[in-house]
Symmetry: C2
Subunit: 244 residues, 2 copies
DNA sequence: ACAAAAGTGTTAGTGATACACCCATGA
DNA sequence: TCATGGGTGTATCACTAACACTTTTGT
């Protein structure tokens, strides 16, 4: 038999704890977008040391009384102007020595956005903001290359069971665009007929009476994602799944 | 065209950063075990304020020059005597106010162990160590109940695609034990014949020429997990999957 | 009329589900 | 001999995978 006895703590720090309260933590945001058939990540060029002038993830220190999620949102907004972005916690990186000024661990967040919905702008602590193609990234500040690799792995896993792909596409898209999105994230080729059958059989994307404009071949039909229906099906136990 | 210019940082902290270096971080370990048909978690009774005498996850401060993974291993060992446990990072909890002595964020780790492999013992900072049934947990220190819920959700997801279940069972186990393990983690009932067919068709567990002892009914055959084969198949693109 | 991508149907095989009875052992 | 859980086979259905040709549009 186990007794649970759980009182409210005394607010009376003991002195031998003081030595632990000398660290800092930051948040770093990995924002993915998809454009011109390629996966992109939003980077900033730093305005301050260390790594001044280097490209880096938009990230900065968390304030003393700020929740982590809140800090991630604030920092993203302050550095790039992006607002109302759904950020998900990814992983925490805390190797000693990863920051030159002291012990700093960083909580990485990630998100998927539609590139057309935002016009990133260099604000605080930022010389420049730009979308970078994932396949041609150079060396970034701190351990940010490693963070991006982790985020990309996570993305590869998560598009399998959650319809996250739709978050990266414009509201109206063609099935071929969706297929290319999966192909570029997984770095594979998918079979057109089976992919379409699978996607359409879920009844999650609605055909519109509109088609692509300005292409020099047969224009493709446009579709949009039926989020309401997705939520309903999910409540009923439906499981989204696309195989690679 | 984007230029990447990424120099080594100067080690010259600027004074306006000082205010950020006043936080601490801890690691907390959620160690799951499985015994008597029920899922268990390893808890300690605390030896120091805050929450002295309360049950809590084995967790403590990370040292200044210690990697997070390393700290999790050390703390687990120091508090419970468990060694050589494979810990995986789970999530980071950082609500302001979660610790009475200042801003403390905690990186939670989790692991699955075979209960019989260890004899937990109360060491540093620990009055008592014990396995607790997950279904009858009382109120724990800090936000540890929330951390355990997160770990449990993660466990429910991860036993689907990784043969983690075998880590919780003794090296030799019966198929019914394995099925009960899945059932208690998912809180569902599975169909015996189909479960066995599915598991055996993967050729990952080897039948032994031994059976259960000391049961008052037909004794079940014992099996063991073929880890070598699992690694080989995984390299070849095989995907473990058990459906609920 | 040609180039370029859109769009579609069928078949064979594999895996999932649902279901009921006999077997081996200890008490 | 009875109670208890161990153990198996088959039929149906759903999904996956593999495959080639016709359609629509712009140039």
């Amino acid at each position: 038999m186990v007794f649970y006895l759980c009182q409210k703590p005394f607010v009376e720090p003991e002195s031998h704890f003081d030595s632990y309260f000398k660290s800092a933590f930051t948040v770093d945001n990995v924002i993915f977008g998809f454009d011109e058939g390629a996966l992109k990540v939003l980077l900033i060029r730093r305005n301050e040391a260390p790594f001044e002038d280097c490209w880096a993830l938009p990230g900065h220190f968390v304030r003393q009384n700020e929740d982590l999620d809140e800090a991630a949102r604030r920092v993203l907004w302050e550095m790039t102007g992006l607002e109302n972005v759904y950020l998900e916690q990814l992983f925490t990186f805390g190797a000693p020595g990863r920051h030159a000024y002291g012990r700093v661990i960083t909580v990485a967040y990630y998100s998927l956005v539609k590139i057309a919905d935002f016009t990133p702008q260099a604000l605080t602590l930022t010389r420049e903001v730009a979308w970078h193609d994932l396949t041609t990234l150079g060396e970034l500040a701190f351990d940010h290359n490693e963070i991006i690799v982790t985020a990309r792995d996570q993305l590869q896993r998560s598009i399998r069971n959650r319809p996250v792909g739709f978050e990266l596409l414009p509201p109206e898209f063609t099935l071929t665009q969706l297929q290319h999105l999966y192909e570029s994230i997984w770095e594979t080729k998918l079979e057109k007929r089976n992919f379409r059958k699978k996607i359409l059989s879920m009844d999650l994307i609605l055909p519109l009476n509109r088609t692509q404009k300005g292409v020099s071949h047969r224009p493709a039909r446009l579709y949009r994602f039926d989020e309401t229906r997705y939520r309903k099906l999910t409540r009923e136990g439906f499981n989204f799944e696309v195989k690679g």
